[in-house]
């Protein structure tokens, strides 16, 4: 647009000029040089050691060390999250830490932390065991006490009976009892402990079976869950006491206890000793608790000290790792005293790079300076656009389809305006536009704070696109004012409506309608249309024609951009045998349709444009009759038809033959030029990429041109029709909006009940936000995107370049790799 070879080049229109540079760096300043270049972030290094495996490279050990440090840092992070601390994001004073110091420090901290953890685990286990022992002492004591008391009670009874009754049979028994030899009395042993409640039934059953019923088991339930020393979790347990006789039974019982994970604790019958053991255990428990607490506090302090420096350390570790990865890409020169680096960098960055190298030489006290030289090559450089926070989002939209070829025209420049504009054509409602604007202003005002935080996926995407959404909202307010819709309600803001009743009684306003009494409503759609019966026929006709006009304009812009590309690359062939026939074909058909639309509007004729266009092809020589819009239309149509028909072979045939002729000319006169031209071509006189290898397959070129021609010719019709989605989505939006307004809000208002009104308002707000502000926004965004990617860009965009990916600390990813 008003820019050619005469004017200065426009920023962002073409890629920054790039050059291949070679740096020769002495080894002692290598690390510092790469570090400073990483801070600068303007060099993309080429991997000169591509054939070597990762283990054969020079700095493999350093990378391993960095990996170890990263692992230790990850371990610290785990411990910190377990203890509930987060690494503080306070920006600290820059303390320059050496890599070796950091390594030793991390190692020390790790061993200390592991030790503390092991100790506290052991202490915790002992603590749980002691707690369990205490429970056993208490409950088992109860058993014995109750058993003792019932035994004495029974003995007293028996004695009482003995005193009272003397009968014939009793003395015999008594005598027998009393004559038992005490030494032959079997000694009962017992085992006491804790068993998990879920296993207690099975435990009992197996004990019973194993000892053939010769044991006595008492269990008591413990109300609260107990911390199991082995697993460290709370488990419900029962206290048990097993009485047995004999050594074999004892062995079996012990084995069964082990199998069921029942912990055993010793117990004495002596009541006095029981009390003593209870107090002892209680004392030990309280001591242990204080020890454990002190231990935990020590660990927390250690973790807190780590958390202050954590961010800095992890950043340093990542930086060092990336520096060594880059150093691995450099190759040694013949003397083995220097490293050679090759990379792409923008031309404007020469001074900055040389500066960084000089500083590195100075800071590393090296005797020899680094050498910087520019190499000439036929390789295709990466594409680099210097974007700021506003333009970067739009450039990403374009790059998502394909990165621009080096020095090709960048559609991103126009996308900044046309993308929000096409969105707004489909979204047009200034009430919704204001809501979107408020939402995005919230993001923009807090952008400094939000850019440092970690946001969720969807919020991240919305935040990244905040300027896009802002443009979309501003244009939506404009188109909303033009369509005259504020939540589907029209307003008379720009003067009086042009329509009024035919006669003062308005008797036929519902049959024949109003008439136009004043000049046209000056800005936008007349508010008289809304709510009428003929609203949809009028608006549909308006919006469809508008879509066609906008579509033809954007496609013409695309073809004009292809002219600028052809001129820049100096390809006359592309100008005369591609640009010119394309412009002629598109405009003689659809440009003419646009002209007819405008003439019909200006003259108010009743001509049927479908009829005109179709019969232009079917019977061009027929008389137009009532479809005549201007004088000489028939002749004009025939001329345009002929031009269109001529344009098709003009696009198809000459170019392959001329390319073949050019190829032959180049090879006949210049045999020495062959060496140069066997590389991949970055030729300023760019022929089609189909012969980058200097083999010219005529059939291939011809088929390529045939496909291109068919695509353009058929695409002219289909792409123009595709723009009708502007009409379709705008209709959907306005209909949804008016349904929500009339059927929810007005309905709720009509009941004259405050509760129903409040409910109605809530439903209206939810429906508006959910359907119109979220779903319709996404939908219109997507369709506007498609119109750009396909209908606009396929007229001129090749998009087969690769993006400039410099070595930069600012671009280091957050994840550990």
């Amino acid at each position: 647009m008003g820019e050619g070879g005469c004017c200065p080049s426009m920023e962002l229109f073409r890629s920054e000029p790039m050059q291949l540079v070679q740096l020769i760096i002495p080894i002692e300043s290598a690390h510092l040089s790469i570090s400073y270049l990483g801070e600068l972030g303007l060099v993309q290094f080429k991997d000169l050691n591509a054939e070597k495996s990762p283990f054969q490279r020079t700095y493999a050990t350093q990378i391993k060390r960095c990996g170890e440090m990263a692992r230790k840092l990850r371990f610290f992070k785990e411990q910190m999250t377990k203890a509930g601390l987060t690494p503080s994001t306070r920006p600290l004073t820059r303390v320059d830490i050496d890599l070796d110091n950091l390594e030793t420090k991390l190692g020390e901290l790790e061993t200390e932390l592991i030790e503390i953890n092991a100790n506290s685990d052991k202490l915790q286990r002992t603590y749980s065991e002691l707690l369990e022992y205490k429970l056993v002492l208490r409950k088992a004591g109860e058993f014995f006490y109750s058993a003792q008391s019932s035994a004495t009670a029974q003995k007293r009874e028996i004695d009482a009976r003995q005193m009272g009754e003397v009968s014939i049979d009793s003395p015999l028994l008594l005598e027998q009892e009393m004559s038992i030899d005490p030494s032959k009395q079997v000694k009962l042993g017992y085992v006491s402990g804790l068993v998990p409640r879920e296993n207690s039934m099975a435990f009992e059953r197996i004990l019973f079976r194993a000892t053939r019923g010769n044991v006595f088991l008492r269990q008591a339930v413990i109300e609260e869950p107990v911390m199991d020393p082995m697993s460290g979790e709370k488990v419900e347990k029962n206290v048990f006491v097993v009485f047995y006789s004999g050594e074999r039974a004892k062995a079996k019982i012990l084995k069964i206890c082990e199998a069921f994970g029942a912990n055993r604790y010793p117990f004495t019958e002596d009541v006095g000793k029981q009390g003593q053991m209870l107090t002892e255990v209680s004392g030990k428990i309280s001591e242990l608790k204080t020890t454990i607490d002190v231990g935990l506090m020590h660990r927390d302090n250690l973790l807190k000290a780590i958390s202050y420096q954590f961010e800095q350390w992890s950043l340093l570790a990542r930086k060092e790792k990336s520096i060594y990865h880059t150093l691995n890409m450099l190759s040694f020169d013949v003397t083995k005293k220097c490293l050679v680096a090759e990379g792409w960098s923008p031309v404007f960055a020469i001074n900055q790079i040389q500066d960084a190298l000089k500083r590195a030489t100075f800071d590393s006290n090296s005797q020899v300076g680094s050498i910087f030289q520019v190499l000439h090559t036929k390789e295709s450089p990466p594409t680099y656009f210097r974007t700021n926070k506003f333009t970067s989002a739009f450039q990403e939209i374009v790059d998502a389809y394909g990165v621009a070829k080096y020095l090709e025209a960048n559609p991103g420049v126009y996308t900044i305006i046309t993308f929000p504009f096409l969105f707004a054509v489909m979204f047009g409602d200034w009430g919704h536009g204001i809501c979107l604007l408020l939402a995005t202003l919230f993001f923009i005002i807090r952008e400094k704070k939000l850019s440092t935080q970690k946001l969720g996926d969807i919020t991240e995407m919305t935040f990244g696109g905040r300027y896009v959404i802002m443009m979309m909202a501003l244009f939506s307010i404009y188109t909303g004012l033009i369509y005259n819709e504020f939540f589907s309600v029209p307003f008379e803001l720009f003067g009086r409506s042009a329509y009024a009743c035919r006669d003062p009684s308005c008797s036929d306003s519902t049959t024949v309608g109003l008439i136009k009494v004043r000049g046209t409503y000056p800005f936008g759609v007349d508010p008289a249309w809304y709510g009428t019966r003929s609203e949809l026929p009028f608006l549909n006709s308006l919006k469809m024609k508008m879509s066609i006009l906008i579509g033809v304009a954007q496609m013409n812009l695309g073809i004009v951009l292809s002219y600028f590309n052809a001129k820049f690359y100096g390809s006359n062939l592309n100008i005369w045998y591609q640009f010119v026939p394309q412009i002629i074909f598109l405009n003689s058909l659809f440009g003419y349709l646009s002209l007819l639309i405008i003439v019909k509007w200006c003259t108010g004729s009743q001509a049927d444009l479908y009829h005109v266009m179709i019969y232009m092809f079917l019977s061009p020589t027929d008389d137009l009759g009532e479809n005549q819009l201007f004088a000489g239309q028939k002749t004009l149509q025939m001329v345009l038809l002929l031009l269109a028909l001529v344009a098709v072979p003009w696009m198809l045939l000459p170019k392959p033959f001329l390319l073949k002729k050019q190829h032959q000319e180049r090879h006949q006169g210049q045999s020495y030029a062959l060496l140069q031209s066997t590389d991949d071509s970055f030729e300023v006189e760019a022929h089609h990429d189909s012969h980058g290898h200097e083999e010219f397959e005529f059939s291939e070129v011809f088929v390529h041109q045939l496909i291109h021609t068919i695509e353009f010719v058929l695409g002219a019709v289909s792409n123009t029709a595709s723009y009708l989605r502007l009409w379709a989505l705008s209709l959907a939006h306005s209909e949804l909006s008016s349904v929500f307004y009339e059927k929810v809000l007005l309905l709720a208002w009509g009941f004259n009940n405050i509760i129903i009104l409040v409910v109605g308002i809530i439903v209206f707000i939810c429906a508006t936000v959910g359907v119109l502000l979220v779903m319709e926004t996404l939908s219109a965004f997507l369709h506007a995107l498609r119109l750009h990617w396909v209908e606009f860009q396929n007229k001129f965009y090749e998009g087969d370049g690769y993006k400039f990916n410099p070595f930069s600390f600012a671009l280091l990813s957050d994840e550990d790799d």
């Binding site: 647009m1 008003g2 820019e3 004017c7 200065p8 080049s9 426009m10 920023e11 962002l12 229109f13 420049v413 126009y414 900044i416 305006i417 046309t418 504009f421 054509v425 404009y478 188109t479 033009i482 042009a498 329509y499 306003s509 519902t510 049959t511 024949v512 309608g513 109003l514 008439i515 136009k516 000049g519 046209t520 409503y521 000056p522 800005f523 936008g524 759609v525 007349d526 008289a528 249309w529 709510g531 009428t532 019966r533 003929s534 609203e535 026929p537 009028f538 006709s541 308006l542 024609k545 508008m546 006009l549 906008i550 304009a553 405008i598 509007w601 200006c602 003259t603 108010g604 009743q606």
Partner: protein, 70 residues
């Protein structure tokens, strides 16, 4: 007549916007050309939309027919 006057207003708005862009962010010739391109594109898009809607209502073929009942 109304069409020409309002088109003139759009042109004036475009000129004022480009002057404002030049005054507030003057960052070298290539950046200036870029801003100018953006302003011109925006002005043309906005004008085109207004002009289409205006011309469509100039000599309408159908008129509003009110729906029955209020």
């Amino acid at each position: 007549m109304g069409f020409l006057i309002i088109s003139l207003i759009f042109t004036m708005a475009g000129v004022i916007a480009s002057l404002a862009a030049r005054i507030c962010c003057n960052k070298g010739p290539s950046a200036n050309l870029f801003h100018l391109t953006l302003v011109i594109t925006a002005t043309i898009c906005c004008w085109m939309m207004w002009a289409i809607v205006y011309l469509a209502q100039l000599k309408p073929l159908i008129v509003p027919i009110l729906s029955e009942g209020e």
